[in-house]
Amino acid sequence: MISANEREQSTWAVDFCGISLAHPVVNASGTYDAIAARRVFGDALLEDFPFSAFVSKTITPEPRAGNAPRRIWETPAGMLNSIGLPNKGLEGFLAEDLPQLAELPVPLIVSVMATGRPEFARLVEAVGAREEVAAIELNISCPNVLSGLIVGEQPSETEALMDALRPLTGKPLIVKLTPNVSDPAAVAAAAEQGGADAVSLINTLKASAFDPGTGEPALAAGHGGLSGPAVRPVALQQLRAVSAATEIPAIGMGGICNGADAVEFIAAGATLVAVGTESFRDPRAGARVAAELRSARPKRLAAPVPLDLE
């Protein structure tokens, strides 16, 4: 006999590409460093881990220091960032970070990016070979050095990349779409065609600001990516379009701050939702959004969703 509590747990759980998650709220790549957070908050982080899966910051084949500061700038109901993907590179990540991330109480999704298909392949093979890794997210907001095109802006580039990567791992491949396109659904459909198991969206919008004190671009890199509540309506529309054009599950994100926002993303077709910028304002935001989502009991959801919100 299962208790009411267990039944609640099980109806609340969600299956995502064969991975069983305790609830539908994960983190957005690059907005939570679980290793640093554990140093700051101690093991309380693990006891009350805010996400049902952990998505790593994007890693690249070689180490990167990231961009020169200034890297962040606040904007109306949002922020710009031009962090520049600082990371230890594939070897450093596997040797130093992965063992620590494996201690988290939830499945691990590793985000990877490269500027050519061979390097992308190296990342997917090496990361996919590690049993600590449940799934791989492909950050395709990157140029293909050969074509010079941003992969995620072109359905053809995206499909070609998927064709190259799909045979290399049996693990779920999630394609992280860029929002800076006219037709994100076409890119999503190409990803699905190439064998993607899921898509996630949106990444940040290309944006900039000027420092009123100097009249110069506020970010040292000149421009950056916009995130936070300001972009939420853009994310919802892209998610609607993408989920109408594909059969694979979507991880929806972009300005989610609370359960009501998450309900909107689920109504727009998301299977999972990801919390990004809001974690900066509240390190436990993921857990709060999950709890609020659970008690939201929305009157009606437009899209059928694989989770019971009762």
Partner: protein
């Protein structure tokens, strides 16, 4: 000692003027005792956001003083209103609530940790940078660590927080020396003039300098100390979105290349861990000249 996980809501118990700055107090029922140099990420619970959608992110603020409260600890923050976030803190009223995450970051260390035979400490603060030195100075006093305090400011308006360096009787502690650019109090000129004089004397060599203030002042302190081969710890600032290592926004260049994350690797940095540009990396956020 780790910070409680997540943000928590604390009540404002007081908010008073201190020259052109404000000092407000929060009652943190859960709070561990913060160490000097640490900071909190703060955002008001209500009306964190003006008509133009800012402030949006929480703001990093050093703890300036702390004491026991009925439950937990009292936290005092010294605020200079320079934008929508600090302006909102300035107008907080008792009974309002503030979201806090922290204490965050590392702390100043004891002089003896650096030199087993360190003669003592020299604290050099400028403008709003006096905040973390107040808590540091009280600890040194209580533990009998010999120290001198040099505080500088532009003018009376920018001389807030001085009462945090007062004895119980309300008089400025005898170990404090002042400098002001307009000469209204203490030495007319920069606080680094006072430091230069002290470092020129023999007795300072085995001391440790602790400093917080505007980037150009920190850079002057760093290079003076380097020239005199005196160890120094600098509490830096950089733009912060999260304060707990999540956003990588608070990067400060390291002399050997690459970047520190100031929120988790700092905010207190040994002088030789940063290069000249790093001490001035957040120049955009502060006056570009030596004014305090």
């Amino acid at each position: 000692m780790s910070a409680p996980f997540g943000r928590r809501s604390c009540e404002v118990s007081e908010n008073r003027a201190s020259a052109g700055y404000r000092v407000f107090s929060l009652l943190d029922p859960e709070g561990p005792q913060p160490a000097p140099g640490q900071f909190y990420m703060l955002a008001t619970a209500e009306r964190w956001s003006g008509g133009d959608g800012r402030p949006f992110l929480p703001r990093a603020i050093s703890v300036a003083e702390t004491g026991p409260a009925a439950r937990g600890v009292r936290l005092d923050f010294l605020i200079e209103g320079v934008g929508p976030g600090t302006d909102r803190f300035c107008e907080l009223e008792p009974g309002e609530r503030v979201w806090i995450t922290g204490p965050l970051g590392n702390a100043f260390s004891e002089p003896r940790q650096q030199h087993p035979d360190a003669a003592g400490a020299i604290l050099v603060g400028g403008g709003i940078g006096v905040a973390p030195l107040a808590l540091l100075r009280r600890g040194f006093s209580e533990r009998g660590v010999p120290h001198r305090v040099l505080l500088g400011f532009r003018n009376r308006e920018h001389s807030g927080g001085l009462e945090l360096f007062c004895s119980a009787a309300g008089a400025l502690c005898p170990e404090v020396r002042l400098a002001s650019e307009d000469g209204h109090a203490g030495h007319r000129g920069y606080v680094t003039d006072l430091l230069a004089t002290i470092l020129a004397g023999d007795d300072a060599r085995s001391g440790v300098v602790y400093s917080c203030g505007p980037p150009p002042m920190l850079e002057a302190v760093r290079s003076l100390c380097a020239a005199h081969e005196v160890a120094c710890q600098l509490a830096l600032e950089s733009p912060m979105a999260c304060g707990f290592g999540a956003c990588f926004g608070c990067a400060v260049p390291r002399p050997e290349g690459g970047y520190l994350r100031l929120c988790v690797d700092g905010p207190v940095i040994w002088g030789d861990e940063v290069g000249p540009t790093a001490a001035d990396a957040d120049a955009g956020a502060r006056e570009r000249d030596l004014r305090l």
